[in-house]
Assembly symmetry: C2
Homo-oligomer: 287 residues x 2
Amino acid sequence: MSFSFNKVTIIGVGLIGGSLAKVLKSKGLAKEIHGSGRSRETLEKAIRLGVIDHMGQSTAHAVESSDLVVLATPVGTFTSIVTDIASHLKKGAIVTDVGSVKGDLVRTIECMLPAGVHYVPAHPIAGREKHGVEAATDDLFNGARCIVTPTELTDKTALERVCSVWQAAGMNIITMDPDRHDHVFAAVSHLPHAAAYAMVSTVAEFSEGSTNYINFSGAGFRDFTRIAASSPEMWRDICLLNGKNMVEMIEQYQFSLNRIKKAIKQNNGKKLEELLRRASDLRRGMR
Amino acid sequence: MSFSFNKVTIIGVGLIGGSLAKVLKSKGLAKEIHGSGRSRETLEKAIRLGVIDHMGQSTAHAVESSDLVVLATPVGTFTSIVTDIASHLKKGAIVTDVGSVKGDLVRTIECMLPAGVHYVPAHPIAGREKHGVEAATDDLFNGARCIVTPTELTDKTALERVCSVWQAAGMNIITMDPDRHDHVFAAVSHLPHAAAYAMVSTVAEFSEGSTNYINFSGAGFRDFTRIAASSPEMWRDICLLNGKNMVEMIEQYQFSLNRIKKAIKQNNGKKLEELLRRASDLRRGMR
């Protein structure tokens, strides 16, 4: 049997990294899968679950002679990992990632990697309600979108090989400029997370007797703030790495809130309905 | 068989009004249920579905000789309905409502009703993902909370009778001051709706080529903005009737957003993580 990759190393064997490992196995794309990460316990569990075959003594060790190295840790760790592994990568190795920030980070990683190593930046958009390797499944990516953000330096063959992995996982590939990616995802993903965190903080500041207002919330509030339960470290890193776009989006959002506030202050029902109707029509159009 | 109420009139036979009618029937609380509303078609459907027994030629006609009159239309219509029905209500009749704004509106309605008619303001917190009488079900309220907001003018017996109806529907009764109610629900319900409308507007202002950013959104954005699909007229009325609290809450929310924005601008990871972690812990605590 011929494999697409002899040795694949997944750095960060959580929900995303673990699910990708399962895809590589079930589709017969990798001969052996090595895992690396902060927690020895997680890696041992990943081996027990059959998600990976081996664990490295260190990340640098784990990537040696790998054909494909996948960064699947939080984006805030990427540059320090690349510093550690850069000199241990074999010539011709492909490094890819699953991070939700591209832009400057992509250009930084490109500069850090030695000549002859190919970097393909990617962002599979996959659900993250559950965490950890125990939640990994080979259908996590099926039917969802994977954004790839090649630059003028990206090797075409390496790009195709990475795309074919995500296609095997059932994903639809969308190609986007790295800076455009960060602007789009600041709007549709990073801003909503910041807004949900801010909403929980706002409401929690009030209480009625000994009962926090949060306890009076219903299904709407719970839906609205579900994403505020996500990892604070991960979102801290995303917000900072995508800082310029985040500031722009928060300001745009505050502007939209101001329009609604102004219509309420002026008791302008016609204007307020117009603002709400436009948003409501757009949202209904989304299904 | 002895009924709690001989004649009940439900004004607005939609999801909430229709579900209440079903509870009154299934629990044997009402001998006959009359319906009234804007749309003759809806009322005919409600009769066909067995939700109500009769429809009035007019709302004024429908409430004549009623023991219990329920306002289940959008809150923005309450005062004009009360104007229409006030002189047609029998002595001893109980008027109640299911509106999500109390405060000044409660005091206004109290002043409009003739002596001898008892007004009991209530707000059953029930899910509203589906609309219309066809979605009505007698278990809609089961296990949820009903806020009652009596004033010093509220008749104690009338209050008990209304509470017993909602208890029969499976609801837990919470008593709250009408002004406190509006402050609490501005925070946990009305603000999140305004914020979701503002979020959809913000993101929809951007596009990549011919593709609106909205189309790149994932499950998080959809959860976050689900409530923005709600009726713009209903939320216009709620925002305006609860205007003072809404302005306060929008400003508090903008303040929380500013704190996050500032930490991002200053690239202050420690501060940002602290803000996100606090919200995340609170949200996880909600289940």
